[in-house]
């Protein structure tokens, strides 16, 4: 069964802290994504990666960075957390090329920055 696992479901961090959100998929997918979900805004793409060590900015990359050292793992990094980064973060993956491939989501990570 397809599995995208986000290591932390709920986190509370202080302003200025460095935050790591980890995502692992077990489907050998090339593409991985990080979205941010806020009420009334839907899901907005932060970064995506189509291969190991490759990354592309999405719509709202400011304040975030990513790392993909292994195919199965895609990490989202908040270098210095701020209160406006309080949100729900969703990781997703999908196989190879072809826009019709289904995208699979993790369960989400709730981040509160105080």
């Amino acid at each position: 069964d397809v599995k995208v696992t986000q290591s932390s479901r709920y986190l509370v961090k202080r302003t200025g802290e460095k935050v790591f959100l980890e995502c692992v998929q077990d489907m050998d997918h090339e593409n991985m994504f990080w979205y941010r979900q806020d009420p009334g805004l839907g899901l907005r793409l932060i970064y995506f990666s189509y291969d190991v060590k490759m990354k592309e900015k999405g719509d709202i990359p400011e304040g975030y960075s990513v790392s993909r050292e292994k195919k199965e793992r895609f990490s989202l990094i908040l270098e210095s957390a701020s209160t406006n980064q309080t949100s729900m973060y969703l990781c997703a993956s999908r196989p190879g090329t072809g826009s019709g491939n289904t995208i699979y989501f993790g369960e989400g990570s709730w981040l509160t920055v105080v």
Partner: protein, 113 residues
Amino acid sequence: AQTVTQSQPEMSVQEAETVTLSCTYDTSESDYYLFWYKQPPSRQMILVIRQEAYKQQNATENRFSVNFQKAAKSFSLKISDSQLGDAAMYFCVIWDNNNDMRFGAGTRLTVKP
């Protein structure tokens, strides 16, 4: 850039009845895919149905069907015989060959027993 508009922030339906969720989109691409995703309170995104833009026939998955109007750029979701488990946030999504995937703001569906 592609955009997706869901004009109904909230909808409600009586159990066993039918409800239609609206979605319009804008794209300059001729080849793209459309999806409806469901997000229940557990927050796990679940694919409900998908439609290839080059197919004229509307997709159907059990109680879920779409009305795809390509010229009007409309992609509505119909849920028949609504069940309590259908209560969720529903997202309309467009995805093109450039890896550009756009979500609507979502429609929260409540099912009344």
